[in-house]
Amino acid sequence: MFPRLILKSLRQRPGRAVLIVLTLVMGLSLEAALLNLSLDIGNKSEQELKAFGSNILLLPRDEIDTSSAELTTGNRVFIPQTQLSSLDTPGDIPLEGYVPFLYSLAEVNGQRVAVSGTVFDKALKINPWWSIRGEAPARGGKGVVLGEELAMKLNVNEGGRITIRQEGRLETLAVVGVLSTGGSEDNQVLMDLDLAQSITGLPEKVSAVQVSVPTGGDFSVDEIAASLEEQLPGVRARTVKQVTEAGQNLLGKINMLMGLVTTLIIFISAVTVSASLANAVIERRCEIGLMKALGAEGRGIAAIILGEALLLSALAGPAGYLLGLMLAQVVGLSVFDTTVSFHLRVIPIVIVSAGLLAIAASLMPVRRALSIEPAVILRGE
């Protein structure tokens, strides 16, 4: 009896049923799309945040300052390069990459300059804003790269040569490229790590290591830094807060923004559906008055209205979810060039929202229906 009542009223006025389902689908699909996007935005932004550089810096445990007064080999401490090999083997700690640096001072073409020895393909990957005109020295190569300001001041470019005096040794090296970073490197001489180690007489030694670790994963950056310190004795790990904090902050705001938009849309759907249902109650007031006169209780009437609403939302739920998933993919592909990954937990959330929407939208219509006095209505007023 109960289901028959509901289905009959829906069949009588299919237009209204369609309208309500349409409105529900609209609200639910946007909710599904935004939920999917906000669960995924952390991952998608990983790529963007990587562009800001590494988020952990490894330094020798006893070294207080990589730019200490003398920078002579005598009173400096280093990280043994052999320890870094344990960074290569994937363990519990997820690393995305690392690049070692060896810093020293030298005299180049008569000028006192800072020299950086590094592994260029790794450095360019972890510091994507480095831009080289010419070539980067290959692993084990003998060419050097000049920072662009230094190149201007020394008046030497790619194809030129420089003489470098360090630790009593004098070498002439070919300049194979000019580097522009907007940072200290613009005034440095950069070369392959092996070459730097041999010229300075510091084989297998490294001053610092930039490490890039994922931010949105199971471990926080601070936790990963702490476990790196455990794994590598003689190493101190610093979390570069500049990027991590600002990144999390920004993503938090984006999520809040999407959350607010979702709430607004759900609210609007609820209001519109509620108004439609209330309208329906008013049109069917004679019917309801008759039912009450024949002995139906308020609960029964409320159940019929609620039942209709829930049936419609049950239809709207899956349709809304699928549409929302498609919308999320369209947005994800347009903005981040990758598909949005599937998050299982969105499904129950959408189902529950659909139910709650139906209930919320029924509240006012039910109140209206319960306030109908059979005698008054049946009199024809």
Binding site: L30, L49, D65, T66, S184, K241, L250, V271, S276, V331
Partner: protein, 424 residues
Amino acid sequence: MLLHLVKDSLVRRRRRIALAVLSLLVGTALISSLLTVSLDIEGKIGKEMRSFGANILLIPRSETVPVEIAGMPAGEIGDRSFLREEDLGKLKTIFWKNNITGFVPYLFGRARIEGTQIVLVGTWFDHEVSTEKGPFRTGIRQTSPWWRVEGEWPSGRGQLLIGHELADRLALEPGDQINLNTGQSGREFRVAGIVSTGGGEESQVFMDLSEAQELLGLAGRVEKVQISALTKPPDDLARRARLLEDPKEGLPPKEYEKWYCSPYIEAITYQIEEAFPDGLAKPVRQVADAEGAFLGKLKLLFALIAGVAAVTSAMGVTATMSATVKERRGEIGLMKALGAENFHITGQFLLEAAFTGLIGGVAGYGLGIVLAALIGRQVFDSPVSFSLPVLPFAILTSLAIALLGSALPVRRASRLEPIQALKE
């Protein structure tokens, strides 16, 4: 006569019209609030991006080669060039002065704390600069929000901020008194706080700029300035200008003007160099490049979300409008049976729709302002700027939805035989 009919109809069918107006109201509110926010979002997110740090560096133009590693001076501090502290106010006089959200000067020196060599940095923590337009508050607290201070920020003379790693090494706590010796002079200082940043600052000692200038005998001088500016992500014009030695020479006049008047980071550094002829302003690519790409993506993300939400709500409202008209088929049939012409009927209904569209549009715009302000306050902690074109847009959208939603059902209903329509 027509107007009288319309008014009568609207008054008598208050309830039915109410549904139409309500759904136009909320739909327009959503569309206009999303539009307002998306017009402002570049500015809002751009401002959030400033918390990633300064994106422009201003240094004195000189022939000497600074010996620097990872942003910190290395080796002996020999011949150096300086900028004048008193010139810094000029940063707020360039064309894009309103995009300069902060700037912080630095002066470096060497000193000893109880025999340990340290790097001393004079800077502004939270300083009021006098500029042409009035006082401007800027300093590390504004441009580098990721600095964590245990204890307090220095708030006057004789106070220091010590980097976390150095403080550990020297076993210092906030509140300790120490003696700082620069070789020329020694002075007592109080450790106001200990700072953690995850960067090179952790092994340095910070004090107010004027005090550092006194101690180092470098009155009125600064060595470099970090500048935080709101910028526009690069596009084709910006990329072409970047390759040129001097955009003024290399670009045709119209394009040069367009480039100059857009807040590309290179245009801003160009203008800074105009104000500081003996200075070199360059983008801190690490921050600037990454920020530009990210900002572009987030802008697109929000625009798409807003677009999809607007379209679906417009569809929903149109459907609602259609439904309210379809319900009045009986009425239309009656009118026809009584002799009304089609265009009378259509005219009356469209006029009603226009009326509801107008009310819904204006009220919706009003609600939209409230919603946009809510979003601005909750998410960005700052008021959303309202652009006037949104009002006419809201009204036009509402009118369009109301008219389009009514037009089709009215025409279809008025084509029916009256007897069929009356059967409803």
